[in-house]
């Protein structure tokens, strides 16, 4: 084991760095809100899996923002594909359904995936009521809900 004095210094160095980081984040003007996903921006709306399930049962439209091949393998029940990496083509395919929808929930692979936020933001800019499924597919499965795993062409 290291002597106590060295452990104390190691802890001091780590604590000094952590304190500087937290102060810098709150005071420098370059920081961001630590209590929510960094992908969430002003105006974005996020719903939990449980809330989204209730919306789904109520007829909400679900959109899968992942690349099309992932949607082909598995998706939320009834979800249509609107890939962030091919938005314009995808949009023209599903536009009629989007225009009919009173509620739209966009999701992607998980908290590390920004595609759902980008797609929902673009839809909102075009006047559609799109929100993001918080933490995406893993959160949906963690909440005990199933996926549609029948492969699609």
């Amino acid at each position: 084991m290291m002597p106590r004095r060295r452990l104390l210094r190691v802890a001091c160095i780590a604590a000094a760095g952590i304190a500087c980081g937290l102060v810098w984040n709150s005071l420098s003007g370059r920081g961001f809100i630590l209590g929510q996903s960094v992908f969430v921006q002003a105006g974005d709306e996020v719903v939990s899996a449980v809330e989204a399930k209730a919306w789904l049962d109520d007829g909400a439209l679900f959109l899968d923002a992942r690349p099309r091949d992932f949607w082909r393998m598995h998706r939320l029940h009834g979800a249509l594909s609107l890939p962030e990496d091919d938005f314009d083509n995808g949009f023209s395919e599903v536009e009629a359904r989007i225009r009919q929808a009173s509620r739209i929930v966009v999701y992607c692979q998980g908290y590390g995936c920004e595609a759902s936020h980008l797609v929902a933001r673009t839809l909102r800019e075009r006047g559609f009521p799109a929100v993001v499924l918080d933490e995406g597919l893993p959160a949906w499965e963690d909440a005990g809900f199933t996926l549609d795993t029948e492969s699609r062409p």
């Binding site: 084991m1 290291m2 002597p3 060295r6 210094r9 190691v10 001091c12 160095i13 780590a14 000094a16 760095g17 952590i18 500087c20 980081g21 937290l22 810098w24 984040n25 370059r30 920081g31 961001f32 630590l34 209590g35 929510q36 996903s37 960094v38 992908f39 998980g110 908290y111 590390g112 920004e114 933490e135």
Partner: protein, 166 residues
């Protein structure tokens, strides 16, 4: 370990070179991340190791720990303790990189020293030096070795212990 090898690892010159190089690397590594915390947080998210809120905390604090430890290594103050901090961070990064690689997650910019988008194909530095992969593992293992030498091998001619005694 043979006496000659142990003696070489205690050389004051070797310690000076390793300390300054490691310190410069860590200071360099911290600056772009400190300048743009949300951009670095986006990269930490891509590793998918910690979850969103712990990733936020790591993104705002880790670069500053890198900066403080790097500066201490360069100026030579609390240098062995700073080397231990660097060793702990490198070990943590190696574990995280192992998880990313084992799960097959494609992280094109590891966020090690830069937060900008990955370079285009054919550009310099090449993309295999940017992502999470074997290059990162080997580089971190070499730096971890240097940090352990600095942290736990006393310089020849000093009365400092190895740091391993209780």
């Amino acid at each position: 370990m043979s006496n000659a090898a142990a003696s070489a690892l205690r050389s004051p010159r070797l310690h000076l070179v390793l300390r300054v190089l490691l310190g410069l690397y860590f200071v360099h590594a911290s600056l772009a991340k400190i300048a743009d915390p949300p951009a670095f947080a986006r990269i930490v998210y891509q590793w998918q190791v910690l979850g969103p809120i712990p990733s936020n905390l790591a993104a705002v604090t880790l670069p500053w720990v890198e900066l403080v430890a790097g500066l201490l290594l360069i100026v030579g103050l609390w240098k062995r303790d700073a080397a231990v901090v660097v060793a702990i961070m490198l070990a943590a990064f190696l574990v995280a990189a192992g998880l990313v690689m084992a799960r097959g997650i494609d992280v094109v910019n590891c966020g090690c020293t830069a937060v900008a988008a990955a370079t285009t194909p054919g550009a310099w530095p090449p993309s295999w030096t940017q992502g999470v992969g074997w290059y990162l593992v080997v580089r971190n293992l070499l730096m971890l070795g240097a940090a352990l030498v600095l942290g736990f091998m006393a310089v020849e001619g000093t009365t400092e212990g190895s740091g391993l005694e209780s």
